[in-house]
Symmetry: C2
Subunit: 306 residues, 2 copies
Amino acid sequence: MYFEGAEKRLSLTLVAASPSLRGLGDDFWRRALLKSDTEILSKLSCEQCDAYLLSESSLFVWHDNLVLITCGNTRLIETVLSLVESLGNVQIASLSYQRKSEILPALQSSRFEDDIARLRGMLSGDAYRIGHLDGHHHQLFLSGEMVQLKAVQTVQMYHIRGELADYLLCDRQTAEGIATRLNLSQLLPGFYFDAHLFSPLGYSLNALRGDDYFTVHITPQEASSYVSLETNLSLGEDLGGIVNELLNRLNPVSWDVSGFEAQEPGYCAEQYSLQASGELTLADGLGLYIKHYKQRDCEQLLPVTL
Amino acid sequence: MYFEGAEKRLSLTLVAASPSLRGLGDDFWRRALLKSDTEILSKLSCEQCDAYLLSESSLFVWHDNLVLITCGNTRLIETVLSLVESLGNVQIASLSYQRKSEILPALQSSRFEDDIARLRGMLSGDAYRIGHLDGHHHQLFLSGEMVQLKAVQTVQMYHIRGELADYLLCDRQTAEGIATRLNLSQLLPGFYFDAHLFSPLGYSLNALRGDDYFTVHITPQEASSYVSLETNLSLGEDLGGIVNELLNRLNPVSWDVSGFEAQEPGYCAEQYSLQASGELTLADGLGLYIKHYKQRDCEQLLPVTL
């Protein structure tokens, strides 16, 4: 009943006047993803973006930038190095490679330190950790012009509880049933959805509305239940309201929000309190922040028999 | 600036009328400890107990029971298996083998699951985890009659801050200076002390007063600062007051208390709030509890350059 939900993430922006990333075609992405043992399950496209739903999370490709997220024990660094080589580092205006703290790091095939040593062989950049080693933390490597990084917010929820959490563990669940219970069509008007229910457990969803994306990944396994949301929607588009509603429905014991943006989010469902907050100030007024919230009530920890 | 402070722990009680453990002699313990690459640095003895200060933590040997604690990347399971073989499992009335969640588990030479698979080849028993995989948690294997387990409390402090934390990182620190700043001779009247200052950093102390023991291990390294206390002193002996004073002096961001005892400790320095609590009910009214506390204030996380 364990699956590593914590994601590794690449985002990359090309220099102006580069050939379009979308012109590289599905076969190019299929070969690049193969390096990290990741397959394309389906594709949702619109005029501005191709959203690939993967065997381990998601890939979003716009004309001049991409976001690639993988979970489990995938070796994303292999795909990253292969992409930097294929695209050529002079074409890359900015790149960020991130790893969130894994639930069982001992089962990963490399450590972040190993990954960045290899990246530094191809690209100059700076690497950081925000958060304690013995708690949730983010590790990131940044290369190029930070102003080229796209604003994005990620929410990670840990140890979901209640009716929806129970439904996500039951045999009779369906992709439609999950989407309905998340209330996604109401929360994300105008979006197009592509969802996949994994066997035995797990749910991924990509959503597009022009340039906007929203992605949800759920690993409900009891020992390591985890939900991540990522989007480029801004706070002005009521992102706070959307996240608060999902917090109320998924009822995690704790959750983190992080992202690249000048403005830090202030929303928080009232049953949570802010435990820790960190910020990395980058050039051009940009920053990366991380905030950690926990339910106000003392949690009852139940012993697990091994 | 990283050292794995989180401990692995063996406690073991012999059946009545077994030969004395203390009669086995220093060479026996030296050979057993060698299996986990641990050396004896010094020994403090009294009528009731031998307290060995180790290159990685401590060993306490009484007539019919022992407590062995090791930190770092020691393979304590090798010593445990060797002791079970030497002593013979019919001589063992009860045994507990515990591993606290490590700060960097990926650097450990085995996982708890691997260890207990080997232990189960020699002893029947039950294994448990209390606490989430992505947070502080305790893992334990219990064999034999629980009523034979000695009452003990362990306090683990994470991310110490302030004047004493700074002193523990400075060049001019001495073992005496640390003991004075911990106020140990006041807090532990009647105890005898054996302390060691490690190079470049780290401090261990064993203290004995007849049957009573108190041990302190400090790994002040900034990325992973950690202090553990363990004792068989009871709450009636003002253990709460002692722990609260040490919390005030060491000022950790968070701390855990755990132990085998019917009565759970209720003490808590007022700047902390109880975040999570778990209990494992054993036979004979005994229980193992774990409580996790954190400072009430939101913590500022500072980015670390990698």
